[in-house]
């Protein structure tokens, strides 16, 4: 699997693309593959606040339900509402069209705790070995 080097990653298998004070968040290809066919996505509402580690949404596949944890504290700026009608996009293009939310970051220092693509790839290897 290919983890682009233009973004950060979390140990909850999310990717975080930083653009100024806003970050875009999605799940990694690895996470999407582990979940299997995703059939339902629950997203937060605009303006909702989350602390790092809080549950902001839910991914439901044919075999499991997983919480999505905010990789960083902040306020929801945008959600990918097209996922409600076509959740399969996450399986098809997890790192692109399958993005889930955009967060206005409240504490940029938290970004430093996130993994770069090499570290994440290493983390996945450890998890699967």
């Amino acid at each position: 699997m290919n983890y682009p080097d233009d973004r950060k990653y979390s140990k909850d298998h999310e990717w975080i693309m930083v653009d100024g004070k806003t970050v875009t968040v999605g799940v990694t290809e690895y996470a999407a593959e582990q979940l299997g066919d995703i059939v339902y996505v629950e997203l937060p509402q605009h303006g909702e606040d989350f602390a790092q580690g809080e549950t902001f949404g839910v991914l439901e596949s044919v075999k499991a339900v997983s919480d999505c944890f905010a990789p960083i504290s902040g306020t929801i700026a945008e959600t990918n509402d097209s996922l409600s009608n076509s959740p399969e996009v996450i399986n098809e293009d997890a790192h692109g069209e399958g993005w889930m939310i955009k967060i206005n970051v409240s504490d940029p220092r938290e970004l430093e705790e996130l993994l770069d693509h090499d570290a994440y790839e290493e983390f996945v290897k450890e998890e699967t070995s």
Binding site: Y40, Q45, E48, V58, A64, V65, D67
Partner: protein
Amino acid sequence: MRYLPHTKDDIQQMLDTIGVKNLDDLFASIPGELRAKRELDLPHALTEPQLDREMRRLAFKNNVCATSFLGGGAYRHYVPSAVTELAGRAEFVTPYTPYQPEVSQGTLQALFEYQSMISRITAMDVTNASNYDGATGMAEACLMAKRIGRKRNTVLICDTVHPEWREVTQTTLKSTGMNLVEIPHAGGRLNRSNLNEALNDNVAAIVVGYPNTFGIVEDFADVAQAAHDKGALVIVCVPEPLALGLFEAPGNFGADIVVGEGLSFGLHTTYGGPTLGLFSTQQKFVRQMPGRVAGRTTDADGREGYVLTLSTREQHIRREKATSNICSNQALCATSCAIYLSLLGKEGFTKLARLNAARAQYAKNLLAKIDGVKVAFDAPTFNEFVIELPKPTDDVLHVLANDMMYGGIALNRWYPEMKNHLLVCVTELNTKEEIDMLVEKLIPLLCKEG
């Protein structure tokens, strides 16, 4: 059904199989001080004639011959013997959590039919495979409204919704931090101006009774409009769902969740139950709905079949994030309900509702003619209504009961200020003669002296 105890041989065979000498050895892992060192204190076994006599003695303690005008949340209706016979089949009665599609197509289809029929009666998109009863269903509906409304924390509830349902809901919500705010009635109906004052952006839902505890059926289209304008849901509580054979279905006036008591549909009122919680909602809220759902699908070969669907919302998959703590349902009662409704059919359902309303109207008119008696609320009712007596209701009911007649429910039980108010229920089981007899017995009791 057969209930056969283990014989000594059975027990010995089981012990031999697992390699234990006797029962004492089997229970050896239980510390001695925790084990009873004596026989259980039970009466001796009875012979069949002795047992028969004892059961009759107990049965006669029930006042089964009394004429009853009791309603108040549990409504007596005729249960055709086919319901009891079919629902009593061992395939329905004995299996425990029979939801593996490989072996349970009959049960799953019965539940699917039940869901379909309740959805049609309430004019809602989806119905779950049942809750325990109307009261816990109402509490679940409030929790569901909270899940949908997220930060909204208040539920407004008419004080004419069944008092015991409100109590159950209060208990359930106690630990959730939600507020349950009661809206007082005006003349038996929801007080619109009180409601509008209380309605704000923190309200998750408005809960209304349909019919309400006074038997009144009111149009809630305006309430639904007001609720939706403020982003709140409308939960319609239906204690007597037979009323929907005559009055507009809640889905047609904007209900978001409908909960009901299914006791009226093919179940007996013995000991006030068993009860059956009807729970319906709109498609857009289906993932927030509590309980299990039977769905129709096709298998790998394209054959029609039934399976539990949307299980990912439930505890066995979603654990603590499940939509609800409910982990069972009233499958056998729901099956009885499906059989009952299919026997009635669409026309029979409407006819039975009309018959109930007509009998109750007959009683209401006659009772209102008694000197000193008046109809308490000027509002349309279904098969239950409130009259105001010229003296305390408790005294009157006591005399009637000694005369083998349950004349209704004294409303001061739930509304202390209503000392002279009597809630009278009339179903198809109350003949015209019974109604005439109630009136005849009441007249001398309500005469001036006393």
